[in-house]
Amino acid sequence: MSHAEHHVSSIKLLAIIFGGLVFLTVTTVLTAQLDLGSFNVPLAMTIAIAKASLVVVIFMGLKWDNKVNSVIFGLGLLFVAVFISFTLFDTLYRGDLTNTTKGTIQDQVLMEEGLQSREPAPSTLQPDHTP
């Protein structure tokens, strides 16, 4: 084990990061009030990732830490990504062959009821959520 002095982050650096985090929080709350169409989600997520990165790299000191800890953290994120993306392979493409249907029976019933009552069905009741 090579002996290295532990890194000490200066109060100034910590304060700057804290300021940045508060700024980003205010930004994300304000931009969420605007209607940016399909940009709302990516923007909010980008800001969240930026905030989380600041916390991990500076507050948690990963920047100065043993590399193996970065690898561990990275692997954790990688497998979260695997979990999400491989599940989406199913849920986004459910019913791509004839062995099962895309929508549920409940949704179909709701839609039929909506049609029969001849009122415009709330958009939320559409059974088919094609990706």
Binding site: F83, F89, D90, T91, D96
Partner: protein, 551 residues
């Protein structure tokens, strides 16, 4: 040259009070406590298996009602998987052997280690508590909505599995840190015994996968208790999503079960062939690769579940990719014997039996990974036979090899070699007789989890039941002579198998409470027998306990 060390105290003798055992922080004693606990779990699960097999000797009711049968196979699986096979090798042999093999005084976090043990016991008791409140039904897979619609026993089982998950996580975490930070001077990654590599790979899976079964069990609990509507289709939830959650853990869990077996077999093959393990680097790194790839294939349990064809195709393709490193490993183990010096002691017999049974498990796995064939074979006895060939023929047979291999080090006593060989034969024969007929009846269409069945399948079921008796006899024989060895076994030498790993060359038998009298300094790889020729020149047991500075 070993006599000067024999008079020292060892970890068993230095304090014999009950309290010193229950509160011990010594990884070796914790390993022994796990050994006792998982053996009890194995016994309970095994008795249930025998009962299930007897019930299936004839169609219709033989010895129990349909409800009793359904609970018996559910409990058999829950006990065998969560309380026996997942902790078996990592927690028993990993605990006992890992710090010794890497030349450490203990694991990195001894208190956490003891806590893991008690968390395991607590979880197992909670799961068993289900028996007191009601039926435990639905199979170990807990598929919704059946699991949320039947009995309250499921609440206890999910809680128990949740709690035992913590034990598994903490053990894995402990081992990863130990392997990274506690290796003896000179013990580089390239010199590590392959058992360490495999336990390390297992630990990665334990840490990354187990939290997901935690959240899955929690959500299942809430689904049953509050009806949150995530998994229950009557409330708009999706049962297939539950299967994704469940298999995200439970497929990697298969690698928690099999990777440690790879490690044991590698060690046994090297030691009993007195030969460098063929393709050492490949065997080592492929364990880690398999650990990671194991996370990408869970959907092959769901080819007929109604998941999208897109995901079935992706999962099927990756399933093959994981088959290849596994296959190459088998070839490596076989070729380790090539031009070696093979000694057929009891532990080696298990390693050789493993190559046979695990290969069948592997090849049938390839068959199940083929999309079109799996549609026919899914949820039949073919699958039952396949996973028993992997878990029992893979893990348990290897674990028995490991148990016999390390038994002298753990207890200081030799078991009866002749009985050992007979028992190994019984286990091997009984195992194949139990499970091979299941492949055939499965392919013929016999579905799994069937209490009653069509008369045309009875012949296979009979063979299988007879096999289970032979297997049971073999296992009880092992239990018998191992216990007998504690009483009247021959005193074990320092290194009865002629191994080169540190637990044999640098410790007394049984080991000192602090493992090593002096920190070992490692100068060669775990299987570099050709660099240690002088140690074997006398033909006597080799040990470097006292003269640690020369090597």
């Amino acid at each position: 040259m070993s006599e000067s060390a024999s008079g020292t105290i060892n970890y068993l003798s230095h304090d014999k009070s009950i309290k010193s055992w229950l509160l011990t922080l010594d990884h070796k004693r914790i390993g022994i406590m796990y050994l006792i606990a998982v053996s009890l779990a194995f016994l309970a699960g095994g008795i249930l298996a025998l009962l299930v097999r007897i019930e299936l000797m004839a169609p219709g009711e033989t010895i129990m009602s349909a409800d009793a049968y359904n609970q018996a196979f559910t409990l058999h699986a829950v006990l065998m998987i969560f309380t026996f096979i997942i902790p078996a090798v990592p927690a028993v042999m990993g605990n006992f052997v890992l710090p010794l093999q890497i030349g450490a005084k203990d694991v990195a976090f001894p208190r956490l280690n003891l806590a893991s043990f008690y968390i395991y016991v607590l979880g197992a008791l909670i799961a068993l508590g289900a028996l007191l409140v009601g039926r435990v039904d639905g199979g170990w897979t807990f598929y919704t909505p059946y699991s949320t619609s039947v009995g309250d026993g499921i609440l206890f089982v999910t809680t128990g599995v949740f709690v035992m998950g913590f034990s598994s996580i903490l053990t894995g975490l402990n081992f990863i840190v130990t392997v990274h930070k506690m290796r003896a001077p000179g013990l580089t990654w390239n010199r590590l015994p392959l058992f360490i590599w495999s336990i390390y790979a297992t630990a990665i899976v334990q840490v990354l996968a187990t939290p997901v079964i935690g959240i899955t069990m929690l959500l299942l609990f809430l689904e049953k208790f509050l009806h949150i509507g995530i998994f229950d289709p009557a409330l708009g939830g999706d049962p297939v999503l539950f299967q994704h959650f469940f298999w995200f853990y439970s497929h990697p869990a298969v690698y928690i079960m099999i990777l440690p077996a790879f490690g044991i077999v590698s060690d046994l093959m090297g030691t009993f062939s007195r030969h460098q393990v063929s393709g050492y680097k490949f065997v080592a790194l492929s364990s880690v690769a398999i650990a990671f790839l194991g996370f990408l294939v869970w959907g092959h349990h769901m080819f007929v579940s109604g998941q999208s064809a897109t995901s079935s195709v992706v999962f099927s393709l990756i399933t093959y990719l994981i088959g290849i490193p596994t296959g190459v490993k088998v070839i490596n183990w076989v070729s380790t014997m090539y031009k070696g010096s093979v000694q057929l002691k009891t532990p080696m017999l298990y390693a050789i039996a493993f190559l046979f049974t695990f290969s069948i498990g592997g090849f049938t796995g390839i068959m199940l990974g083929v999309l079109a064939i799996d549609i026919h074979l899914h949820d039949t006895y073919f699958v039952v036979a396949h996973f028993h060939y992997v878990m029992m023929g893979g893990n348990v047979i290897a674990a028995l090899g490991g148990l016999h291999y390390w038994w002298p080090k753990m207890t200081g006593k030799m078991f009866n070699e002749k009985l050992g060989k007979i028992a190994a034969g019984l286990v091997f024969f009984g195992f194949n007789l139990t499970f091979f007929p299941q492949f055939i009846m499965g392919a013929q269409g016999m579905p799994r989890r069937y209490y009653d069945y069509l008369p045309e399948f009875q012949g296979y079921h009979l063979l299988s039941t007879y096999g289970s008796w032979v297997l049971g006899a073999g296992l009880f024989l092992i239990l018998g002579y191992l216990i007998a060895s504690l009483v009247n076994g021959k005193k074990a030498g320092l290194n009865p198998w002629g191994a080169l790993t540190l637990e044999w060359t640098h410790t007394t038998t049984p080991p000192h409470p602090h493992n090593f009298l002096e920190t070992p300094i490692v100068t060669r790889g775990a299987y570099d027998f050709h660099l240690a020729k002088d140690l074997f020149a006398s033909g006597e047991e080799v040990s470097e306990v006292v003269t640690s500075t020369t090597h």
